[in-house]
Symmetry: C2
């Protein structure tokens, strides 16, 4: 294509609000333009790369038996009431009314719609398994859209849904999808890890996230270098210590702790390390208050609490007013001794001795507290793992990496088929709820993840798998026939075997080279002064070396070096 | 692909609400499923055909220099306020609020968004002309969605926008687009006519609609068999008669006409033909009342009134209460003699003599009225043309055909660039508003138009250009190896050269043949009893003839007959 006819509005400056590298680079290289917060137009280069990504995804989905469909963006409230998500989904769901005052939503995901799609048709197990997928624009009204296409309010997703009569069949498709995802992200060229993840608001149990490793990841991946173990930090399990402290248990002592606001201050006052202190927190679990005690240097993990208590929603820290009402003391002065609510102790506190806790009385703590001094409802894993701890598989210490979630596979089980009455007759003629899996890939996120990985200080460096063009021909002076004619001839001949962009714009050489680096096409061919001797300059985007190549050798030179 | 793994839920019965043939056939052949009124899921066959249509459209758009982009579905209110359409567009515009209570809409068309996209970038005429297009889901909250994908609330559109520094450039791109549309609809295989059309709510002046001829068309096309003349009936011009009636003018006579409610009753009472009577109507034009007089047998055309009066909105018939207030008489008793509002006379009334009109007094008419008896503000063309009248180009009588609008090309001019401040510096360094064109194709409508044309009583008959598969292999009995093995071998070998669907379902032969006809793949190959002698039965969907073909001749037989 001719660059003079293309809309690639490269920029010298980008707004300071562009926080991530991919966001900055996509603005600079004229790939996206913001229309509203978290809402972007995909310009021609982006559209080309997205189509390449989509095609890879489509091929691998078809390989595992996927049926491509297109479900509507609009979905009626009634369907989402059946699943209970109309109420549960919260403010991220974009709701609207039609001209007849009927309620609709813009689909952020399509479990309800796909169940409705198949439930009239699937009568017998003979029609199963069935896998349906689509590549479509999705909507999520993020509170804080940011990082360009990484966290937008309107974005491209591939979402797939599978239907099964039994767990064996679901497991097979789950594994097929897992394999397809590995192929997709390998073909695209991302460094990724498949990690154990929390199933979040979609429900279900067994799930993996595919995380592209990246400096700017929004998620932290916990992994072991000594094994395959990898998990999202929300999910990464902390081991229960096997040995208790061998200290002698002392007697409780009540001490005055005026103006102590943090565990650091408490540790300093007591002359101990922070990890020798504890933190007591009160959380609300489906309307009931529970007391959680963790080590002073640890962080509470409410995702784990949700799993532990099997609660409907994710537990939240209790309001200060509720705490005052129950304890007649503020949140900073609480502890398990004589607690008025059930007490849950983190595994790491289980092995401590002679630790300090709040006295349930403002400005007082108790020291030398031991497990025998209070009633314990249960012990559990209530905190985030920390870097360097033993991995849950015992293989060695965990490390942390930042990552971008580009895909996720879920075993949904019967969550939606039960609430929405999707059943089939099994081979014994008995009506059973259909088992489901669902499988997402963030198409526009994947594009961002590619840019996060493939770039240098001068711009993007597209991997061949998704590049918008193979070759960028730069014509040095569009007003001189001595450059124009051979460049045009070259453009026509190379276009037979490659995707070629011809920079035929009336711009200075410096502008053209800058734009060429920004746009990041793998092979650059400059038609310059050497052309009078039949020589062009070839430079690959991922190297600084320049090669003078004779026209007659050009095609084979490119084929050899651009693999 | 294997039919056993595909989701093609064919139906025996379709709801009575499916009014059009394409709607019925697409439901029967398992191509679409309704989610809400006017909102459909596109099932696998539909998705395949749509992709084929899209690819043809994309190729021809790229040929005329189009830049493919993807603009967002969501657009902020502020942009549409700039153009004035936030207010003007009415209830078909789907509006919503985000979590921060900001107003958005779901794009039914993207003039505002595309102007915003380019206005920061286009500074100089050197960047022009520029053409941008997208293939995208659009939203229009139709009052009465119907006919399946023909008039939906969520639908697929190709919309293109071009930008120019002068009319010459706009005309060139308009003509290029017109040519591209001719290629597109010819390649797809539709019988179409490009007709002069009204520019409607989008604004602008020069415009053509591409209408697929069809039994069920929602629009009427007026055309001449003796020339290229064709127009939408809303636009088709009526000629001004050259000769007046040579009757002698008589004197006005007031007559009592109690209970006369229609021109038919009036004609009967007076003993004349309906075409010898007149109809007087009062319309509201931007808040002012105007009287329009047309012949008794003609129909008022408010689209022509809008053009004639150059009014902001389409004129509507005045309320009966407003009429009573001004005339102290009801709408059925009005006439131009002593009218209290300006009088406009249709060309066909201009040549009449001694005609009857209402007396502006209930239950009375005047007969033998002539032009000299009242004041005329202006004469004009205020009515719909009727079949058999002379075409406006004088080539012969017009005929009517029903059609489906599948595309439209518009010269928008400076309507949006002026209201939204899109200017460039021209070659004299002067800032000028950019001229725009816009060009739409209804992708999902085009699919319906194809089905309206290509079918018989048994189902769809896909034209090769867009068919989801070339060959449908029907395996007669999936439980017998004697059929299964050769069918599988055939499937693998034919798949190298053709898109093949293998019916490997465990169903009766009758079900398979019915479904095969419904789905409408051009070539059917039956692996049946003949296979023991190496013979299969070949039938083309558009013929009743069956051919016994030897396996070794099959490929060349198909290549020869399926062109």
């Amino acid at each position: 294509m001719r660059q003079s006819k293309m809309f690639i509005p490269t920029q010298r400056e980008v707004p300071a609000s562009a926080e991530s590298l991919s966001h900055q680079l996509m603005l600079k290289s004229g790939m996206i333009k913001q229309l509203a917060r978290g809402v972007y137009t995909y310009l021609p280069i982006t559209k080309m790369v997205l189509k390449n990504i989509e095609e890879i995804v489509r091929e691998e989905m078809n390989q595992v038996g996927g049926n491509e469909v297109q479900m509507p963006v609009l979905a009626p409230k009634e369907l989402w009431e059946e699943s209970g998500r109309w109420e549960k989904y919260g403010k991220e769901l974009i709701r609207l009314k039609d001209r007849h005052d009927r309620d609709f939503l813009l689909g952020p995901t399509h479990e309800e719609v796909v169940v409705d799609l198949v439930r009239d048709e699937l009568k017998s197990y003979k029609r199963l398994p069935l896998t349906i997928y689509q590549i479509q624009t999705k909507f999520r009204d993020e509170l804080r859209p940011r990082f360009g296409l990484l966290r937008g309010r309107e974005f491209m997703m591939k979402d797939a849904y599978s239907f099964h009569v039994d767990q064996e069949s679901l497991t097979k498709t789950y594994n097929d999808m897992y394999g397809a995802y590995e192929k997709i992200f390998s073909r695209i060229g991302l460094d990724y890890r498949a990690v154990e993840a929390d199933s979040g608001a979609i429900g279900g149990s067994h799930t993996h996230e595919f995380m592209a490793l990246s400096e700017i990841g929004e998620d932290t991946i916990v992994f072991s270098e000594a094994s395959d173990y990898a998990a999202n930090i929300e999910k990464a399990q902390c081991l229960r210590p096997e040995t208790k402290s061998d200290e002698v248990e002392k007697d409780i002592e009540k001490i005055e702790t005026p103006n102590i606001k943090s565990v650091d201050e408490l540790a300093e006052l007591l002359g101990v390390k922070v990890e020798e202190t504890t933190k007591t927190m009160v959380v609300e679990v489906d309307g009931e208050l529970k007391m959680i005690v963790i080590r002073g240097d640890h962080e509470l993990n409410t995702v784990k609490l949700k799993t532990f208590f099997n609660s409907k929603t994710e537990p939240e820290l209790a309001d200060e007013t509720d705490i005052l009402e129950v304890f007649n003391a503020h949140g900073g002065s609480l502890g398990p001794v004589n607690s008025k609510i059930p007490v849950y102790i983190d595994y790491q506190v289980e092995v401590m001795k002679n630790f300090p806790v709040g006295a349930n009385e403002d400005n007082y703590h108790l020291k030398n507290v031991n497990l025998k001094d209070f009633e314990v409802e249960a012990f559990g894993d209530f905190r985030f793992i920390t870097e360097g701890e033993m991995a849950p598989d015992g293989s060695g210490p965990v490390k942390f990496r930042e990552g971008i979630e580009v895909g996720q596979v879920f075993e949904l089980g019967t969550e939606y088929s039960e609430s929405m009455n999707l059943t089939v007759l099994n081979d014994k003629g008995k009506s059973v709820p259909v088992l489901m899996g669902c499988y997402g890939i963030g198409i526009s996120r994947t594009l961002s993840a590619i840019v996060e990985k493939y770039h240098d200080d001068n711009g993007i460096m597209w991997p061949k798998s998704v590049t918008p063009f193979d070759i960028h021909i730069v014509m040095m002076n569009v007003k001189k026939d001595e450059f124009v004619e051979p460049a045009e001839t070259l453009y026509n001949s190379l276009s037979k075997d490659f995707k070629v962009l011809l920079d035929d714009r009336d711009e200075r050489a410096g502008v053209k080279f800058n734009d060429s680096d920004l746009i990041g096409i793998p092979v650059r061919v400059v038609v310059g002064r050497g052309i009078k001797d039949g020589v062009v300059e070839v430079k690959f985007r991922n190297s600084d070396e320049k090669h003078d190549v004779k026209l007659e050798d050009l095609k084979s030179f490119i084929e050899e070096h651009y693999a």
